[in-house]
Symmetry: C2
Subunit: 357 residues, 2 copies
């Protein structure tokens, strides 16, 4: 079976790039790979209510700005399954949109997906038609995201021509994995240092196993070690995804990114953001970014065990902000942009042959 | 009972500043607080052989450059307990020195303590006399370290006059805790952000509870969040200990320090090193620092559980190097020094009224 990207075979992809590795519509449920249990256990949950999907996002059962937007999109279809009539459907859809949008304020892919689903449903006559329309929209977006990621990877690879080893942080989603697949196709072997990304450990649990699946070497470090590596000249690039990119090139990504970006700059290491699509036109600059704070209790636990005593509190900003002057290039499906030029993405020719973003 | 510092009451100190919170000589063993089990369990181990002490250091049962040097010093006495004669004692002492020095190459307090114990034993006539001489040396050093830490804290406090909140990394040992005790005495309330310090979690397990014991607020963050806090203006200073300070002001401390120092500099936050004693005269600069690498397997575990799949490896440099231009001041028992001036420590008047360091 061809993968969503339209080129690779589904079986050649690491689990997290496959359809089942993200979210699928089963006809009456949203099936989601439970990322909390990875990598030790591959188990899927079936969400039959909007609330189930919302909680799956909030509990990080599914994560990654673009990936979770797919689950939310299919979740919109769930809202209509028991609608009594058109008026009831509108109410349910509005409630679902509100609930799902509230799960994660920092990335905008989610808000866009919800808006697209609402629009698709709005032009349908019956709840059944609306469900079909929503699923079609989300399926289309899933394929588009995969093709964008592959295109992004192809634009990024030449920038990393001399990079034998790179550092990444958190789970850089499809673009980085396609980049590694493309590097392998080109006969290259890369060494990917994955910062573990506390407290949820995306780097150790999701990224490192996926890197291995692409046939490259994965080495885990703690979130405090990237600067050490860069100062020693052990990595030739720092590469991350971005949950939000402002029009001025400001990058919002998993907390910890900013520190690595500073260390990269201090040591002459380029920082590439593989964004896969364009900047967020709604965000002129950092002042438009709302940083999501999660439950500090998660910082106080390691593998479920409390790490400190009662009376100590914790802070858990999920993201941080990296100013554009620390970013070497923002790589999109339409090519690599200098951060201050990323606003011209909209005018750039889409390699997919149509206006998107 | 008066504490080792000669001023505070032992009962007024956080556990990790007390005699029993470090290492004690029992007459035929070295009793060590097992820091691996903190903060949930307070348990002591008794080392009866040099090898036990060496392993306690290697397994991080005891940690902190100066604190573990006390255990090693008492460990030298253990070597002599079963010596047959003076020649046998010399052999055993030499073997013990070699074994203990090999446990931790980066900090020099350990090497100095071992040399001091060898010198003390060398001028003794019998193994029994030598044991007494060694214990006297180590007891004296323990008291000296406590007094130096208190003096350092008093020099550091005025530098933090406007700091309502500070960030620290790893366990900054005695000086930071005395600083907090002195701040409390002066009626101040401080907010101490403690980076958890993966993989051993010194920040969450040791520092945060000790901060609470001193009566201040402790908030744990992950090792990737310090930059976020500094960019938001949430902390007014970054404060750490140092495992080694070179004569040119280069600071070697727990890995992760360098990234925070970069973030501090980028955001106009001062970085103070509370060193408690002088620089290491053996180390002109960074080229003289050997970074200790520990077992990467520890990075791959959280609370004992593996975080990733087989085939993924890990790197565990225990320390990193912060160049002097990122350091605001190195605070010692003889006052605060600009990093490039720290070499003049030896000529500075000792507040203890004698040449030390």
């Amino acid at each position: 079976m061809k993968a969503l990207d339209g080129e690779y075979d589904e079986s050649a992809l690491p689990l997290l790039l496959t359809r089942r590795g993200m979210a699928e519509w089963t006809g009456d449920a949203v099936r989601i790979l439970d990322r909390r249990r990875l990598p030790s256990t591959v188990v899927f949950i079936e969400c039959r209510e909007v609330e189930d999907v919302a909680q799956a996002i909030e509990t990080m059962t599914i994560q990654g700005a673009f990936t979770l937007s797919l689950a939310a999109g299919y979740g919109m279809a769930l809202a209509l399954r028991t609608a009594l009539d058109a008026a009831d459907a509108r109410r349910r859809l509005r409630d679902a949109a509100r609930r799902l949008a509230a799960t994660r304020p920092t990335g905008l892919a989610l808000a866009r997906m919800i808006a697209a689903c609402e629009a698709a449903a709005g032009s349908s006559n019956t709840p059944g038609d609306a469900i079909e329309a929503i699923v079609r929209v989300v399926d289309g977006k899933a394929a588009e995201l995969a093709r964008q990621a592959l295109a992004t990877a192809r634009h990024a690879l030449p920038l990393l021509a001399d990079a034998g080893a790179i550092l990444t942080h958190c789970f850089a989603d499809r673009s980085l994995l396609y980049l590694l697949l493309e590097a392998k196709r080109a006969g290259r072997s890369m060494h990917v240092y994955c910062s573990e990304t506390r407290p949820y450990l995306q780097g150790a649990r999701l990224t490192a196993p996926a890197v291995l699946e692409t046939g490259h070497r994965a080495t885990v470090i703690t979130d405090g070690m990237g600067g050490f590596l860069m100062r020693r000249g052990e990595v030739q690039a720092f590469v991350t995804a971005a949950d939000r990119v402002c029009m001025d090139g400001t990058v919002c990504n998993k907390v910890g990114t900013y520190q690595f970006a500073l260390a990269a700059r201090a040591n002459g290491v380029p920082y590439y953001v593989v964004r896969q699509s364009g900047p967020d036109r709604e965000s002129a600059d950092e002042t438009h970014v709302e940083i999501e704070f999660r439950d500090g209790e998660q910082v106080l636990r390691c593998a479920g065990e409390r790490t400190t005593v009662d009376g100590v509190d914790a802070l858990y900003p999920a993201f941080d902000v990296t100013p554009p002057d620390l970013v070497t290039a923002i790589v999109t499906d339409r090519g690599a942009f200098a951060p201050h030029d990323v606003g011209s993405y909209a005018e750039a020719l889409s390699p997919l042959g149509r206006a998107s973003g």
